[in-house]
Amino acid sequence: MLDLILKERLPVVVQGITGRTGRAHAVAMRTYGTNVVAGVGREVGNVEGIPVFLDCAAAVAATGALASVVLVPPLNVRSAVLEAIDAGIRFVVCVTEGVPIHDSLAIVRRARETGTTWIGPSTAGMGIPGRMKLGFLPDVALRAGSLAVMSKSGTLAYELCWRLSERRVGQSIWVGVGGDPVKGTRFAELLPLFAKHDATKAVLVLGEIGGSEEEDLAAQITALRFQKPVHVLLAGGSAPEGVTMGHAGAMVDGNRGTLVSKTTALREAGATVYASMDALTVGVVKQMR
């Protein structure tokens, strides 16, 4: 995965480019530096100079696109991602929120069978600051540096990457894994990439209550004997049990998914878990500079 996305001028197709959001973000991504070579939409033509095709296979055949950003409504995500995989694309970022979990389940299973990296759904996207972004990541928070960021939340990552950027700490890579319980790429799967990524000197993890992703990450840190510093902030500690807090995955169920369970596991694995955004900012800046 890392080899593919670090490729210079990685050619990207935007699925859903003829929609309002698709058009706006195709242009925003291109302006940032992303090599948007094609779009897939309702009719053949072009959007702001980007050629538009009716399906992924045609877009790939004509332009050699290797990665896709999916910007289609939630109930269309399943068919769009499967279409990209069938067209041979092996890196798909899906920003759409509200994808039914059983659809995500089917997509993850197909992605794993085919060796496809699927990022999302319900993510702000991913990026390599200074070079490209796939998704919504705001330019004001992107700054090239050596901190690898992985986050369930878009806005919490915007806030912290912006605060850190203001203090001259930038990112080597930024991956929003998304706030859904069933997702393409989980924290633990990114850790081996960050381990061998020379540009990455430390890792920032922005987690949330619910699920077991943070606990799985802790186990992965230990299993890999991961040496780079890991800084963590966890949101949702004061949420009531059984209530979904905005993100479908952010729900405490009995003893599962609690802040205490996650904090304990990560601390035991050697990560630094902070209690507030300010404390995290201070801690990361101190360690990085």
Partner: protein, 380 residues
Amino acid sequence: MVLLEHDAKVLALVLGLRVPPGVMAETTGSISADRLPPGPWIVKAQVPAGGRGKAGLIQPAATIEAVRSAVQTMLGATHRGHIVKGCRIEATVAGMREAYAALMIDPAAAAVRVMLSAQGGVDIESTHGVVSELVAPEAAAIADAVRRLTAKFSPSMCAAFADAFAALTRIMLECEATLVEVNPLFIGDNGSWIAGDLKLMIDENALVRRPVLAELVTARRFAYPEAALKLATGFDYVEVDAEGTIGLLTTGAGLSMMLIDELRAKGHRPFNFVDIRTGQFRGNPTRLIQVLSWIARGPKIKVVLVNVFAGITHLGEFARLFLEALEAVPDLQIPIVARLIGNGFDEARSIFANESDRVILEHDLDHAIEIVASYTVSKP
């Protein structure tokens, strides 16, 4: 979202799950012998959280008076942050052994976990004696797993599990559930079975294509206020503290959650959680008006904190819509601290410049929180 046991059982019955006959009571006045199934009964408080038995929220009752008294005690009680608004009164199951059966989506494995045990009971969370297998989310694969997992059981137990799991599978696939858990699953010597308790977690994202579930959530919006509201409006809003003093108007689930955590840690009382999704406004102030009017109803509200990190949204447009919304909610006569950052900040600043007596604009979140805090202190 977790369905209340009563609603889950009503749904599951239609899909072939056997459950003891029962009714819902939301007042003691509605309880009479002709409405109840044959006794003795078990009275179960309806809240979407576990640990009811240990909290005294599941009580046996041999007489109608005992049923009324149990319901009386339970209604209005708070359990893990939820107020009991109703009780299920159910016929008692006797003379059967307790087992356990569940289907659960395992996100890391991207598979369905089939879990079962010949012993049931309230301490199942320790998973002692539970055997499980991960399989594809398909009926045939689940049935095969159940056969393998029950291979050493008696023929009548095997038959009971096979039959019960067929019902659980229908529920999981047709309701797009993420968890279907029966604990206890009562099994008789002859292979008969019936679900003592049922925990059903469904996917809010699937409601739009599951009309039966959408109707349930809408019809019972007092039981599922957050889900019903999201279905109706398209965004998330949760009242987290009825006595809260700080109304929040924020976007982004993660940052909004973190903000509530930090306010609480500093001893403040936020009234609500909201992820208003500024990116979906499309020039329409409706969502802003809705949230401001709900905040205005908070009896102890002193101040509103707005937090928008505009990666994509234009803050100039946000500021115009926000003022329009304020006009539309004349009940809300308290200070507004608006922490805005990103796209179009300068335009937002000039728009708010004429409203400086009502809206305090701030760039730094921690500083905005300090200003908000100064308004929540009661002045002598």
